[in-house]
Symmetry: C2
Subunit: 306 residues, 2 copies
């Protein structure tokens, strides 16, 4: 079924592996999701999983493969380097890591490292590939300054200048939400599906300062004001997303309120778009999976042209 | 052994019950700690524990008792009301809740509620008793404006004007530390005992904005800069305490940098004192247990005089 595949493109993250067989033009022939994210792999398990599960499903033994995401970390298959800022597609393509014992057929996209807003450093793996896929999607995106946000467990706010990544900062917004929802005094099994409570949470986020105090209002509004405990998850979601949106861009010196490109899971991007709207900032939503495919395809082409 | 006890004073919190037998002058005759905090009690268990464990250890069947803390919540023994702001010792003494079926011998100190810095409400139970105990400890404390911080799982920042509590805000600082230390990508079993990493964390807290992003530096300084993972807990502690100290008082309109009275666990108060010092703010540390005893004793006297 995959005789025509010219590239196996993989976004191999902590939770899942998303894999696509692409033809010469970068069109998707086959798309698969495998449950063995890097966080679930035993040491040394990646090559076997790739050989026994991914290759048969998506290509032949001689199909080249390009992988991005946490598979390039020390917990993954082969540690791929970090590219420094400012970073363009060509920098990444020049530093693809070749995986041993694969006849040069399997390569991993490097991560990107930054000095960080306060000198403590910052790192990403995977989002850079989506970013360059998004940039490749329309010529005007690579002109001038752009602020791109990839929401998630570790949200990435990325500054782009004329098509190159020039700065970024990571916010543990999704992780804080998961921790607070599952453990401690705010834990709740009710899903975050109340848009009114979400908006209240965004309002409670203020300018994104004093988060530990603002979080306690998720409790006191129930205990003191009698709001339904079933709305806690939505309020908490709004508060954390609102605080992220209000405060994190400022760490990058972004205070203009210019349109934000939201890149990633469309549902999550929708929450960020709503929080930005409530704070008077425009945004546009772009699908992260499509951007990952486009990025891997563009990197493969750039590598081939070198 | 407790024939001379004129009051059984209890600070019955979520984790433990601290109980003291006091004589007529408020001096401690006996001090005990019991492991059955409100968080560990089954429904209806409080009266039996009090009758079978506390009374025999600290007083006779006819000794009056005054309880403060979460024992007055709906999860405790009897729900005691919340007193509104501004609140003085006399307001609390006037609204002690009498526990049914105790011949009027067992009373519970009310909590205090506030509109909250953003109208979402705020509540406390237990810290108010320590506050009024501290205020009773020296006449000058009840003159003018004071900023008092009670660090902990849910840290309380309290504004006092001429001896009355006029505002407060709760920050989930200790709870965030516990959640991040036990779960998620920053989890660590190393104790937070590195003062250098603590100071680095305080510096990384900045002005207490963008906490979700600042927290990620606890990871990237290890992954990107190669700092020892064993220092993560200390760095995290410094970051969270630093963010609390830098940002929470501003929610109360406190921007003067006036001396902070730290009231509570001396070790925890020491961390807050260090973070305040690094941010150029003076503080003084006062023992919370002694303040609880003094507060319960003062409330009992005020009640008797009514």
């Amino acid at each position: 079924m995959t005789a025509a595949a010219s590239l196996i493109a993989c976004d191999w993250g902590t939770t899942n592996l998303r894999a696509w067989a692409l033809d010469d033009a970068g069109r998707i022939l086959t798309a698969r999701v495998f449950p063995f994210g890097v966080g679930r792999l035993k040491a040394g398990e990646a090559p076997r999983r790739f050989r026994e599960d991914v290759l048969p499903a998506l290509g032949g033994a001689r199909t080249p493969a390009l992988l991005c995401g946490m598979i390039g970390s020390t917990l993954g298959w082969t540690a791929a380097p970090y590219v420094e800022l400012p970073a363009g597609l060509d920098d990444l393509a020049a530093q693809l890591a070749t995986v041993d014992d694969t006849d040069g057929l399997v390569r991993i996209v490097p991560g990107v490292c930054a000095p960080g807003f306060n000198g403590q450093g910052d790192v990403m793996r995977g989002e850079e590939t989506q970013l360059f896929g998004w940039l490749a999607g329309a010529p005007d995106r690579a002109v001038g300054r752009r602020l791109v946000c990839h929401p998630g467990t570790h949200a990435k706010w990325m500054q782009v200048e004329d098509g190159r990544l020039t700065g970024f900062v990571t916010a543990m917004t999704g992780e804080l939400f998961a921790l607070l929802r599952q453990h401690g005094v705010l834990r709740t099994s009710t899903p975050p599906d109340d848009p009114v409570a979400f908006d209240e949470g965004v309002a409670a986020a203020g300018r994104g300062d004093a988060l530990a105090a603002r979080l306690f209002t998720a409790r006191s509004r129930v205990v003191g004001l009698g709001r339904p405990a079933a709305t806690t998850a939505s309020y908490l979601s709004g508060l954390l997303v609102g605080a992220d949106v209000a405060a994190t861009p400022r760490l990058l010196g972004e205070t203009s309120g210019a349109t934000v490109a939201l890149l990633g899971d469309p549902r999550l991007c929708g929450l960020y778009a709503r929080a930005l709207e409530l704070q008077g900032v425009d945004s546009e939503i772009f699908d992260g999976e499509a951007a990952a495919v486009a990025g891997l395809s563009a990197l493969h082409r750039a590598r081939s042209l070198r």
